[in-house]
Amino acid sequence: MSLANPDSSPAGPNPARVNLTRFNPMGAPLWLALFAVTWVFSSYGREFSRAIDARWLMKYPAGWRLPFKRDISDAMKWLVEDATFGLFTFKEFTRGIAWLIELPYDFVRAAVIDGFTIGVGSEASQIAPSLSWIAIIAVVVAIGRVAKDWRLAALVGGCFLYLAVFGQWDSAMVTLASVLISVPIGVAGGLLLGIGAYRWPTFDRVLRPILDLMQTVPVFAYLVPILFLFGFGPVSALVATIIYAMPPMVRVTTLALRGVPTEIREFGSMVGCTRRQMMWKILVPSAAPSLMVGVNQVIMLSLNMVIIASMIGAGGLGFEVLSSLRRLDIGAGLEAGIAIVVMAIALDRLSQAFAVRPTPTHDEIESLQQAGLIKRHPWGTTVLAVALVTGLVGLMLPAVQSYPASLTLTTGPFWADLVAFINVNFFDQFEAAKTFMLTWLLLPVKRFLLGIPWPWGIAIVALAGWKFGGWRLGLLAGGLALFIAANGLWDKAMVTLYLCGVSVLIASLIGIPLGVLSAENERANRIVSAVIDTLQTLPSFVYLIPVVMLFRVGDFSAMIAVVLYALAPAVRYAAHGIRGIEPQLIEAGIVSGCTRWQLLRKIKLPLALPEILLGLNQTIMLALSMLVITALVGTRDLGQEVYIALTKADSGRGIIAGLSVAAIAIILDRILAASARNARARLGLAE
């Protein structure tokens, strides 16, 4: 192929070389000097500012603060109370949307748990029961079989059986109903936005920062406005879930469409497709397997939102977790938490199976076409039959309709005893370890960061941005840092940075070696993946409370929770980076007589560096998103600020604090991405 792809040709080797010379991040002496200066500032800044009577150096003066908080609150008030499109108000508009979402939601809920009724309240009479638990399990088993094979069918069937046996059925079905609504909406919305971004570059440029914000502003920050606009109840929770879960779908869509081979696109042009035909007959079907990756992401993120959604009225498993922990029933909380994991596993595996599912071969299709209706849809008819039979039998035998409570299991006492045992017998050891970490790592870092005068802090951030990514990034980073200071959140931001930084450090120290290990050893890989998958889908609240019991309220507990949650990308990216190394390079190392250790240190790690940096980036993003949750154990950072704003229903305060978290995330993300790019360029790897 010559220059058929115009996008790739100008970005050939030349720009990479330019990058390399222009931004050499290895100016080690410079950074050391800067660090030393910062250290001095941090240690003596307070005294200094007092000596020259310039306290504003340490504390951003209240008089200089920007009135954003109030403005946003006012704007929100206006939006809710006065904004109008003429014929109807903005609020009526959002309530209309809420109504549109509620209709299918109510229907799905009726189908899986509530049953269909006519009339309201005490006048309600049931016209049809919901699907029985047996029927629902039959449905998922059949889907598993159709998507892949009996093994998958058994897995998802087992997952749903867990929900029944451990008494989580009703809550799980409520959660399932909201997932069944939020996922299609998130997918469809993401697909359309992604298509828009693919088609119109301007739209893409506008959309990108918005997506960044959607992913980095903590959900708590916009819950209050959503409640105002969409009303109380499950719909607001669904809307919040969709906002949170949609961005990856948008990005995946744009990427997948761009990834359709040029020739396929050209073929479309050559047969004279109109734009619409091109999109829906050529691009979208060809990109379908990649698009399924996005669907999978939406499902997983929707399940991540279960806890937070339950705080504003989604009910379901999230509520079960929260109320169990509220009464310190750790076992019940864990069971409900695992129910979320189990559901995530089932939906994840199903969607992945659909993503890679081969279309049937010609003879399968031919034989189906000759068969009758029942044979053509063996699973559909079986499931229908099961649903009907259990529905009818269920009218007489309640156990068929809903899983009998007497047969449920619980492991609650076991967990309570286990935690108590550890608590009584090992508390001192834990305490010693914790004190050590606090004294030698956490507190010094905290003091260092909090001591930095804010003008110097902004300067450093801007400088780092400029060094790694040019003057644009420098301006962006400096501007965002100034935004934080100007809203009077500098100290809280520093606490955020400290908690996040320490957690990321520890997560990397644990995660990268684990990643290397699982890249080298298949068995280790299987165990490690299972553990980190669970940690990522298990609501952090479930382990946050036992952690508090063992380590008390405070930064250390928060840090542990963050580390557990943010471990996954450090592991995954390191493993992926090492697996992705050209086998020839490793063979070259082996034939030149490298020991295993040399192989790792001199070949694998340096080559995996760009991936590891990306993993670090993701680790930071997850750590930041987790800080909002750790506010629940009493940190004093931006997360806490967001949380306070939520409980005080203060839109402005919440959004500003949320934007500040996003600002930190964006600064770190851009700088790290730039340095990963530099590393790639240095290694001569393609983007």
């Binding site: 010559s2 220059l3 073929f267 050559m270 004279g272």
Partner: protein, 388 residues
């Protein structure tokens, strides 16, 4: 000989890089024809210095109805870009593309879509089959896009599928087929709308050598039935020679020579072209016309010609030496060479053997001599020995 021109391009440029159009000074492609021709003198260095990449430079091509026009070049030579400019898959930076006399580049989108739907077909290097459709659906796809009814388009699709020899595989999916079969689907699909102009972009490059040969034969068979106007892209000179009526050779975005295979062999325009032609067996290229001794016959204008005993038989001037060699070698006397019934020369055993062993050609080909002699690395037995 000179059939109407189906597709032509004049001074077509494609530059990649920032402000490529400003560089050429071309705002309005239509009115600036002469202007862009001025840029013929632009050298590669000048373009590179401006930070641009010249994918196609001042390309002029005329493709006549019913001919197989091959654009040949190595990777990076700009051939794929050129064919995409010809079909307006890529907007050229400057220049003019005329299809049946109408300017393709200024055509509004609706019209362009109509032209592509009814008059053009294209076959792609990586087949570009839609993975989610069966063979039948893939082949029927162009008709579906036009809005043809299901029965109609499937009937037509079955016809072309049979034509390319895939009958019985209609319900297969692309991934169930071998590479060669997949490309047959690609060919069938591009023929489904009965295009006047048929683009083939390295259609056989992704195939194994044996399959490639088979597909070339298949292609020639189809063309003998269909008589399409064909633009065929390849990086394989053998393939070009085998299929082409005329060949355009590209290097660094420029067309450096456009000629029949025979002319290329006999009169390569540059060293670069000569490099390609060097290893090509002459017998496959040369016709009786270029080997015959024309002088012999000039005296004998009368219809009967020389006494029958003098000549062993007749050959046509357009016959390839390869095809007639055996007959001529077997005979003791020379053969008459006829063109449109007229005797234009004679050809004898010695001439044929010279061609077969590669002797004596260079004497008739002054252009060709220089490059060969300037190339000390790999002495060419054909050229050298003949010259000596």
């Amino acid at each position: 000989m000179d059939k109407p021109v189906k597709l032509a391009c004049r001074s077509v440029w494609k530059l990649y890089g920032p402000n490529a159009e400003d560089f050429l000074g071309v705002k309005n492609v239509m009115t600036q024809k002469s202007h862009s021709e001025r840029h013929l003198e632009l050298t590669g260095e000048q373009i590179r210095a401006a930070g641009l990449i010249g994918a196609v430079r001042a390309a002029n091509v005329e493709i006549r109805e019913g001919e197989i026009f091959v654009i040949m070049g190595l990777s990076g030579s700009g051939k794929s870009t050129l064919v995409r400019c010809l079909s307006r898959l890529i907007e050229p930076t400057a220049g003019e593309v005329l299809f049946e006399g109408r300017d393709l580049l200024s055509m509004p989108e609706r019209e362009l879509i109509e032209v592509r739907r009814r008059k053009m077909g294209m076959v792609f290097q990586q087949f570009a089959l839609l993975p989610h459709l069966t063979v039948l659906q893939n082949v029927a796809f162009p008709l579906e896009v036009q809005g043809a009814g299901r029965a109609e388009r499937e009937a037509r699709a079955r016809e072309v599928i049979e034509l390319v020899g895939l009958k019985g595989r209609e319900s297969y999916f692309p991934r169930e087929l071998s590479g060669g079969q997949q490309q047959r689907v690609g060919i069938a699909r591009s023929l489904a709308v009965e295009p006047d102009l048929w683009f083939l972009d390295e259609p056989f490059s992704a195939l194994d050598p044996l399959i490639r040969r088979e597909m070339q034969d298949e292609f020639l068979r189809l063309q003998s039935m269909l008589h399409k106007t064909i633009v065929f892209i390849t990086h394989d000179f053998d393939e070009a020679i085998r299929l082409a009526d005329r060949i355009a050779i590209m290097q660094d975005g420029e067309i450096i020579q456009t000629a029949t295979p025979e002319e290329l062999v006999l009169h390569p325009a540059t060293d670069y072209v000569a490099e390609f032609t060097r290893h090509i067996p002459r017998a496959k290229i040369l016709t009786a016309r270029s080997v015959m001794a024309p002088s012999v016959m000039t005296a004998t204008k009368d219809r009967g010609g020389p006494a029958p005993g003098t000549y062993a038989g007749d050959v046509q001037a357009s016959d390839r030496i390869e095809a007639i060699a055996e007959r001529i070698e077997a005979a003791d006397a020379p053969f008459r060479v006829l063109e449109e019934g007229e005797v234009v020369g004679s050809i004898d055993r010695q001439a044929v053997i010279d061609v077969l062993v590669g002797r004596g050609l260079v004497g008739r080909d002054p252009v060709r001599r220089d490059p060969v002699e300037r190339d000390p690395v790999e002495p060419d037995p054909l050229g050298r020995e003949g010259a000596g």
